[in-house]
């Protein structure tokens, strides 16, 4: 019998990138205007500050079908609101460790600091993250059938 699954399509992950308005989003802009490329499956969500990102946002992204979530903000010490990203750092450190404790792959979620002047770094970070997630495969452990059903 012929195995229908043999013509598997190549896996292109859904990536959600939360970028802070002042550094990382501007970094993405610079990457664009410098004609540096990053994969089109990275969906950027602009937030005022990395510390705006409630851990719920990350879980929600996974629940709705993201395969990887990356959070980008200003380098520690350079926050537009002075201390926002220091809180982000603690929040995400505890969240990542906890997700891994639940058995969620630790490479799936990442934090990177990207400044407005680092267009090249933005593009490199995204390319690298997409590569990691593509290798890791689909997010099965944090998806939610309840949400996927309606699609």
């Amino acid at each position: 019998m012929q195995d229908v699954t043999t013509e598997k399509k190549e896996f292109t992950p859904n990536i959600v990138a939360f970028c802070c308005n002042w550094c990382s989003y501007a970094g993405a802009d610079l990457a664009g205007s410098s004609r540096l490329t990053y994969p089109a499956n990275v969906k950027i969500i602009r937030v005022p500050c990395s510390c705006r990102v409630n851990p719920m946002f990350i879980l929600k992204a996974y629940q709705q079908g993201a395969d990887g979530v990356i959070l980008c903000g200003c380098h520690p010490g350079d926050c537009h609101y002075v201390t926002g990203n220091y809180y982000t750092r603690r929040r995400m450190a505890t969240l990542f460790s906890f997700l891994n404790y639940m058995g969620i792959e630790k490479e799936r979620t990442r934090v990177e600091w990207v400044s407005a002047a680092e267009g090249a770094r933005f593009s490199a970070v995204m390319n690298d993250f997409v590569k990691t997630i593509t290798e890791l495969g689909e997010n099965k452990r944090l998806s939610d059938l309840r949400v996927k059903e309606g699609e």
């Binding site: 851990p55 719920m56 879980l59 629940q63 520690p76 010490g77 201390t83 220091y86 809180y87 750092r89 603690r90 929040r91 995400m92 450190a93 505890t94 969240l95 990542f96 460790s97 906890f98 997700l99 891994n100 404790y101 639940m102 058995g103 969620i104 792959e105 630790k106 990442r110 934090v111 990177e112 452990r141 944090l142 939610d144 059938l145 309840r146 949400v147």
Partner: protein, 326 residues
């Protein structure tokens, strides 16, 4: 424990009769000897008819104060050592009106877990008598002696807490300090592989029936509007399939109380499915202790918590696993 119970009853009656307090929050007798429940007593008669304090009074009374401390008149409450941490935490979060509460610290010699007694093959329990480490359990089928450390509530097995708040105390016996490591089970999980951990949690959390008892009992879960009551959240009710969807509920709940969970153990105690829920927040506690310095929620009713403060030298999230840099 009988002597303590009598003293407590006497004091409660006195406080109510003199009008010093308008109500007393304590435990009242249930249908069986092992199911006393939290209760508000308003008269001396009510106390005489129902008041109880024994080895099955594991319930934490502090959360009930959110409501009653806002009522007219003072409320007296009996708090065990672990309950006082929840009390402090609730005062810190402005949920309890401290000035309206009169705290009577009561001794706790570790409370028994009826589920563990049943698991030892003893059912239809009609009474218990505790002598040191022996528990004489009488049931409809006769008498059995069980070893106390094996049948205490999980929270009591690893507890070395002391009273953090007291306006007065009723303590006739002191529980000896023991050498316990409450993180032992968390460490076991940490030592597993990602896949093994996932399998462990999948097995445990798939049992969840989303009765919400863990949330309802938790003193840290005291928001007036809760995300899990929002029908648009997608996580408000039990998933309509046998898969493993309740993980979202548990991750979100665990994170919501991170840094505020006092490790009071109520979530595990009430779970009808016997899910070891304490292992969730103990992970946060262990990580935060390791990364940001030891912190016990509820030890004080003031000050910052690990997640509402920072230092410039904090570790990077990508490098943090198991409370230390990779």
């Amino acid at each position: 424990m009988k002597d303590v119970e009598l003293k407590m009853l006497e004091r409660a009656k006195e406080l109510l009769a003199s009008g010093e307090v308008a109500r007393v929050v304590g435990w009242k007798k249930g249908d069986f000897c092992y199911d006393p429940s939290p209760a508000v007593f308003k008269t001396v008669e009510e106390l005489e008819n129902g008041f109880v304090y024994d080895y099955f009074c594991g319930a934490n009374l502090s959360k009930y104060l959110i409501d009653v401390s806002k009522k007219e008149g003072k409320t007296a409450v009996f708090l065990k050592p672990c309950d006082t941490y929840s009390f402090n935490q609730l005062v810190k979060e402005h949920r309890i009106k401290r000035e309206n509460v009169y705290v009577i610290a009561v001794e706790c010699m570790a409370k028994l877990d009826i589920e563990k007694i049943k698991a030892k093959g003893v059912s239809f329990v009609t009474g218990v008598e505790v002598v040191e480490k022996d528990v004489k359990v009488s049931s409809l089928y006769g008498e059995t002696t069980l070893y106390k450390p094996e049948i205490v509530l999980e929270k009591c097995a690893v507890c070395n807490k002391t009273h953090q708040v007291k306006d007065e105390e009723i303590i006739l016996h002191e529980r000896p300090v023991r050498d316990v490591n409450r993180f032992a089970e968390v460490e076991k999980l940490e030592a597993m592989t990602e896949d093994e951990r996932f399998a462990f949690w999948k097995e445990q959390l798939s049992k969840c029936i989303r009765c919400n008892a863990c949330r309802n009992v938790c003193p840290a879960c005291s928001c007036i509007k809760c995300v899990f009551d929002n029908p648009n959240s997608g996580i408000a009710a039990k998933a309509n399939d046998s898969e493993f969807e309740e993980k979202m509920f548990h991750i979100i709940r665990a994170y919501h109380v991170a840094g505020r969970c006092t490790d009071c153990g109520e979530c595990s105690r009430v779970c009808p499915q016997n899910i070891p829920l304490h292992l969730l927040n103990r992970k946060f506690i262990k990580d935060m202790d390791g990364l940001y310095g030891e912190y016990q929620a509820g030890e004080s009713s003031e000050g910052k918590t690990p997640l509402t403060s920072y230092t410039e030298e904090d570790k990077e999230p990508n490098d943090v696993f198991n409370g230390e840099a990779k």
